[in-house]
């Protein structure tokens, strides 16, 4: 009987009712989760910045006065500036075709678009070497024509496009599917051109989801390590991206510089997380629910 009365009041005060654990258990569970997250997530982040400033601001800044570091930063920015827009255009095209039309083989196509997420970064690099490396399928032909793809910028860009391939598309497809085609049909009936319909009707509807996808795509493009490591050839000052430069500094026991450069990438991750949380909080409904990766 007392159970029943407790159950009846629980709609008013769910925290003190029978549908939660006792206070002791709750506190215990929260403590275990927090200690675990502190150990596994917070400390690694903190240690990056502490180690970066181990020799003060001067030591931190010294890492960025090296020509190799600046070359690495420039290369990473270049790669992202090509790979992210390329996947953005692809994401828009793919989501338009998949979300606005009904055709056979659609679910297979979606599975194929997601494929790069289930390939190891190292394997993602390897497959481009098998195509364009000296022993690769097109290697001899490329060599004969003096075109360098592997161990050069094009290879790094291709590998980066591969590992960030699904980000924009997988964000937009469910969102555009949910929105349907009624608004676009109305615009077309009223005489708007296809382009005008896309720019003034579709794009405003998907802008937050698009931004969200681009944000995640960019973070991965700038931070990719395994795939780029395989195709880059590690030529200092030429084919080293920021993450590869971090690896070289670390392996040379130049820890302060390694963590200083790494702190740049960690800051990018923090900004990405902050913007991502902001988008989820402010525009959650426009991102299509439950699209967490």
């Amino acid at each position: 009987m007392s159970d029943l009365s407790a159950a009846l009041v629980l709609t008013d005060s769910p925290q003190q009712s029978v549908v939660t654990e006792s206070k002791l258990i709750r506190r215990l569970a929260i403590s275990i989760a927090l200690v675990f997250l502190l150990l596994f997530l917070v400390l690694p982040l903190v240690v990056v910045f502490v180690e970066a400033f181990r020799r003060g601001l001067a030591g931190f800044l010294a890492a960025f006065q090296e020509a190799d570091a600046l070359a690495a930063i420039q290369l990473t920015l270049t790669v992202a500036a090509i790979a992210v827009p390329a996947n953005l255009v692809f994401g828009l095209a793919a989501s338009w075709a998949i979300a606005k039309f009904e055709f056979k083989g659609k679910s297979l196509l979606i599975t194929l678009i997601d494929l790069p997420f289930s390939v190891s970064p190292v394997v993602s690099g390897l497959i481009y070497l098998l195509l364009f490396g000296a022993q690769g399928l097109f290697g001899p032909w490329l060599m004969a024509h003096g075109i360098k793809i592997a161990f050069a910028l094009p290879g790094i860009v291709l590998a980066t496009i591969f590992v960030t391939f699904p980000f924009v598309a997988r964000q937009l497809i469910p969102l555009m599917q949910e929105q349907g085609t009624a608004e676009e049909e109305a615009a077309l009936t009223l005489g708007a051109s296809g382009w005008r319909t896309f720019l003034t009707v579709t794009l405003p509807n998907i802008k937050w989801g698009l931004l969200y996808g681009v944000l995640l795509c960019n973070a991965r493009a700038m931070g990719e390590f395994g795939a780029v490591s395989v195709v880059s050839g590690h030529i200092r000052g030429l084919t080293n991206t920021i993450p590869l430069h971090v690896e070289i500094l670390y392996n040379e026991y130049n820890f302060v510089a390694a963590f200083a450069v790494a702190s740049l990438l960690a800051s990018l991750a923090l900004v990405t997380l902050a913007l991502k949380s902001f988008l989820e909080w402010r525009h959650g409904a426009d991102l299509a629910g439950g699209t967490h990766r």
Partner: protein
């Protein structure tokens, strides 16, 4: 009037741009994803089953595969357990800083793997913040298989949390109220009413964390010590084979890893189909 083929391929629509966008999608997908993966298949079939078996049973390769898959299973299991606890705590309890903690769960997705790798190595090294506390207990983490385990738990955690969280949010309050009014203890309600519908999410999270862990490279190699036969992971062995220009060896290891991660992917899809039938949600 559309040609008959296109009528069969797609249902008619007044929206324009189907041909252009689908064509571009297929071309881009074909050139950048399917062609390179095809190169791997071509190379692997050139080696043949016997050749693949011969490389896969080389002691060093077999040891690396065993290390990768064994530790990934273990790490995905631990990440799933703590992921379930974390998801529950974040969804059900209120405490200061909950929103911030919830945002930081995605850190392993956003933090470049090389940065995570050197940070974990610095923390768990014998003179690191955590390593120096564990050293007197005789526990060595960095440069041992235990270090690989730590890195893979880190990388798997967000998968485990994010697959369970939406399912916890979907639980209908009436169920546990009914269970409580019928006299079940809280533990009984948790165990037999609340946990079963979460199981597909936990399993999906486990599979995703496992698939990611098997292929993980950047966050592992700095903390692993990379001792052949002991703490050398399969992706690292691919890199080593490539630096020795042994493309065949690298291809064999990559093929085995791909075959297993695609099987896991298939398993996830079956799991979700089963879950839809059994519980009515993904």
């Amino acid at each position: 009037m559309r040609p008959a083929l296109s009528l069969r391929l797609k249902q008619s629509s007044v929206l324009p741009g189907f041909g252009v966008t689908l064509g571009y999608t297929l071309l881009y997908l074909g050139l950048l994803v399917l062609l390179p993966l095809g190169a791997l298949v071509v190379k692997a079939s050139g080696i043949g089953i016997a050749g693949i078996a011969a490389t896969a049973t080389e002691p060093r390769v077999a040891a690396a595969l065993k290390t990768s898959f064994g530790i990934s299973l273990l790490a995905a299991g631990v990440a799933s357990l703590f992921g379930l606890l974390t998801a529950w705590v974040l969804s059900r309890y209120d405490f200061p800083g909950r929103k911030l903690i919830d945002a930081i769960v995605d850190l392993p997705f956003a933090l470049p793997t090389a940065v995570a790798g050197i940070a974990l190595a610095a923390l768990y090294a014998p003179n690191g913040w955590v390593g120096s506390l564990l050293e007197p207990l005789g526990l060595k983490v960095a440069y041992t298989p235990l270090g690989i385990f730590i890195a893979l738990v880190f990388i798997g955690l967000p998968f485990a949390v994010r697959t369970v969280q939406p399912l916890i949010a979907e639980i209908e309050g009436e169920l546990e109220e009914a269970s409580a009014t019928l006299g079940a203890s809280r533990w009984r309600t948790l165990w037999s009413i609340l946990l079963p519908p979460l199981l597909p999410g936990v399993l999906t999270g486990f599979a995703l964390a496992f698939a990611r862990a098997v292929g993980e490279y950047g966050s592992v190699i700095f903390i692993a010590g990379n001792l052949p036969y002991v703490s050398e992971i399969a992706p690292l062995l691919i890199v080593i084979k490539l630096s020795e220009y042994d493309y065949t060896g690298a291809t064999v290891i990559a093929t085995i890893m791909l075959a297993i991660s695609f099987s896991v992917l298939l398993l996830i899809n079956l799991l979700q189909a089963w879950s839809r039938r059994r519980f009515g949600h993904v």
